[in-house]
Symmetry: C2
Subunit: 207 residues, 2 copies
Amino acid sequence: MRCFVPFAVDSPKTRLGSFLSPAERQSFATAMLLDVLDTLVSAGLDPTVLSTAPITDDRIPSRATITVDDRELTTAVNAQLAEHTPTLIIMADLPLVQPRDIPRLVDNEAEITIAPGLGGGTNALVVREPAFRVDYHGASYLDHRQAAVELDATVQTVDSRRLATDIDESADLAEVLIHGTGTAHDWLVESGFELDTTGGRVGVHRS
Amino acid sequence: MRCFVPFAVDSPKTRLGSFLSPAERQSFATAMLLDVLDTLVSAGLDPTVLSTAPITDDRIPSRATITVDDRELTTAVNAQLAEHTPTLIIMADLPLVQPRDIPRLVDNEAEITIAPGLGGGTNALVVREPAFRVDYHGASYLDHRQAAVELDATVQTVDSRRLATDIDESADLAEVLIHGTGTAHDWLVESGFELDTTGGRVGVHRS
């Protein structure tokens, strides 16, 4: 199946700004992208990074392709959907996802398969209905369900914590420290992040 | 399978204190408990509420039993584990859980099956190893994995967003508004809560 991973090269992960410098945010975002690409390749896919600018990193798997499209996320994804379906769109900030999670998306027969993110986002999406278009603003999970209904398309939701956990805020870093095993996890450990179990939910502090 | 749902009658959900009055928190916590009990009964189980004080509510399903144990959570749960296994322990603040999620827990052959919560908690746990004891403090998911390793017990993690989403903080209320369909969802709507899509992740505001 065609598979796209949108990636914003400039100023990624602004909500981690109080924890990470701009250069660190770029480095951590790349680490998460590498985890997602490794997972997709291990699951048998040949992912295309839909990047806002050229990227070169010798850790990118050879089976991955970089395509530059500097338009905003929704426009760039819809251009790909207009070209061909079925297509998997999966976000670059999902370092917890494992190869065994991918069949739950791509083997689903529904015309629209959605893995919602925390806070109403759409973290992964398989589109088999050629007329379907995305809109990533706001509570896109609800909007995408509604768009599917309007097309009379069947919808399935994938219930996965790992697919739901996009890493945007400081509390999310704890999830990477607790459950992660890859490049993003190691990046946080090497950058001095540790679990902080003094509050209600486990958070992080930096040494 | 034996099935326990721990429930704290006094001062539940303190981290929702800026949104809800003490009476409202109690009412909302009960609504969530009812959703969990309905789900368990629909999945074919006869749940026991392990409550810190007597509760009477005519909405409690007839197949559910109330057992009062005013000891703290870890002690009360371990007393039940000492008596008999296999046992399912599932938290009362998981209103998104659906009947189809329960077989992923109870049909698992592992000696310890854990559904982690966001922030490193243990939202649901099936114990088949008689010597296993819980400790719900801190990052209990990691501690429970370690305890299983020390007993040479097999461990499985259930990857479920619905089981991971315990409702503790204001951001979690958005998950109930987005994905919920039961008593807790209706309680929030009737209490004036609405989705707020103006920020990064979708939150809530109250009208």
